[in-house]
Amino acid sequence: MSESSLRLVWVYPDLLSTYGDQGNALVVERRALQRRVPVTRVDVRSDQPVPTSGDIYLIGGGEDRPQRLAAERLRRDGGLNRAVANGAIVFSVCAGYQILGHEFVNDLGRPEPGLGLLDVVSTRGEGARCVGDVLADIDPQLGLPPLTGFENHQGITHLGRTARPFARLRIGRGNGTGDGTEGAFNDTVFGTYMHGPVMARNPHIADMLIKLALDVNALPPTDDRWYDALRAERIAAATQPA
């Protein structure tokens, strides 16, 4: 971790930025700056090498073909794997979450190797997409308030032994395995199906990543009244029958 600034890397916005994923980068950036932590944000296009010196890497959601292209290019590049080996933090959403696993089903219906940074394997669900508001309890080890998000996917993600469920569902489909889990994480790599974007609905996750990167236990408080109001509204929306 650099002393001078937080290096935030947004991976492949040209391929994986279909669901307002820039929002996660904007929220992390904003909340770091509000704590007077300078931020250097690097947006890496898929024809550019992924820098290995970042502190926090964000990787978003996307359509099926761009997901395959992103996996191919990330495997070939190797930068993200090297960054994680150096201790970098990665937070991934939806298609990006699947790419971080061992394998997912690509747009051609075939198994596509992922980066193996999370001990998960993803397949494609039959039937209707999971679309709607989600409410879940984040792993108590992380000490965060409930997770609210919007899911919009058809994936099913099975967790292996070294991946912990990021959250336990109260409402929603999450990993789609029917076991009530949503997302996955290990020491520094996180994955979720939650859009919204997830950081806008759960600014505490952004703070957690910043704390991990800075290796501090606490951050100065921020004025979170609009986040709190949005959270209350969306949690109520998720719990009320449509």
Binding site: S46, E63, V131, G196
Partner: protein
Amino acid sequence: MAGKSEPLTPRAKLAVTAGKAAAAVSRAAGKGSGSVIGGKVALRLDPDLLARLARHLDVVLVSATNGKTTTTRLLAEALRAGGPVVSNALGANMPAGITSALAGGSDARFGVIEVDEKYLAGVARDVAPKAIALLNLSRDQLDRAAETRMLAEKWREGLAGVEAIIIANADDPLITWAASSSPTVVWVAAGQSWKDDAWSCPSCGGVLQRPGDDWYCAECGFRRPTPTWALSGDHVVDPYGVAWPIHLQLPGRANKSNAAVSAAAAAAFGIDPKVALERMYKVQAVAGRYDVVTFQQRELRLLLAKNPAGWLETFSLIDGPPTPVVLSVNARGADGTDTSWLWDVDYTRLAGHPIMVIGDRKLDLAVRLEVAGLQFTVCADLDEAVRTAPPGRIETIANYTAFQDLRRRVGN
């Protein structure tokens, strides 16, 4: 061009009559214009009715993510120089609404038809259009719309066998991909401000290079075609290099772009660009969009922006600071229920404007604006927002159902 000698069959006539009766009942019951229910009844009685009605017309279809209703109006106005026009001017753009509109225009020579993106290939097959104008494709209604590139792919397959002249925006790589399998394409450099749905080559998936106004794929060679028409500032440049001035009452770059495509489409029907563009001046508000209304003794301009590309164009046409701006966002069925797209909109463009926020999803907007570092006021409704707004004409920008709510509230 169109053969007018062949009359409608008795079955088709019956279907038209029954459809009109159903529409009248629907109107009498206070359920809107009745055009969709009328069209549904008529198509049930005669499934080929749309094709039959269109056979008597020179048809041009208009489709896009943004600007299709406005372009349909501009083009209809231009083609009236050549004869009577029938058009689904109110934006009922799926087969039932289109059928209903055409059934009301038995004396027309031209049919100018706005088509929903998902129905374009089917309608193009049914009505055998003479021309199809394609403006732009970008992300819209994320929870249910087909993926944007898949839509371009479907257009490409659907249009490959269509004999119509395609008038297509060469500045949009997805439109270019959709159109380039067609035998006859008129390329228009109509511009496109939003670029974030076309960084990947639609053909091979390579990263598109976009120096200046050009674009190309370095991997497979797919590239921007050479346009024969171009939007150049306030002018449309025709294939002979003659620049014709655009005078519109409608504001903004996007509408100049719509006018340029309309002029190229009108030329395909023998209408001179000068005549076409002069006639377009008549178009004022389109289904309430761009309308200036008085509400609570204040002037409000009503602007519709449904998706990131639309918001981007809208920000470029509003009056500068300190003009007050009211933003309203809903996430009902017709809007798409996923509000993530708010984060693809660059709200920092509103810096310096007093901003009032309303709509079902005002809290999503509030967080969005907070993170953008903007000052804003969250209000209960339009009335409160207007009372809160400092002096000056108010720009009100709303997405689809939020816009309908606004129109109802101001009595537009």
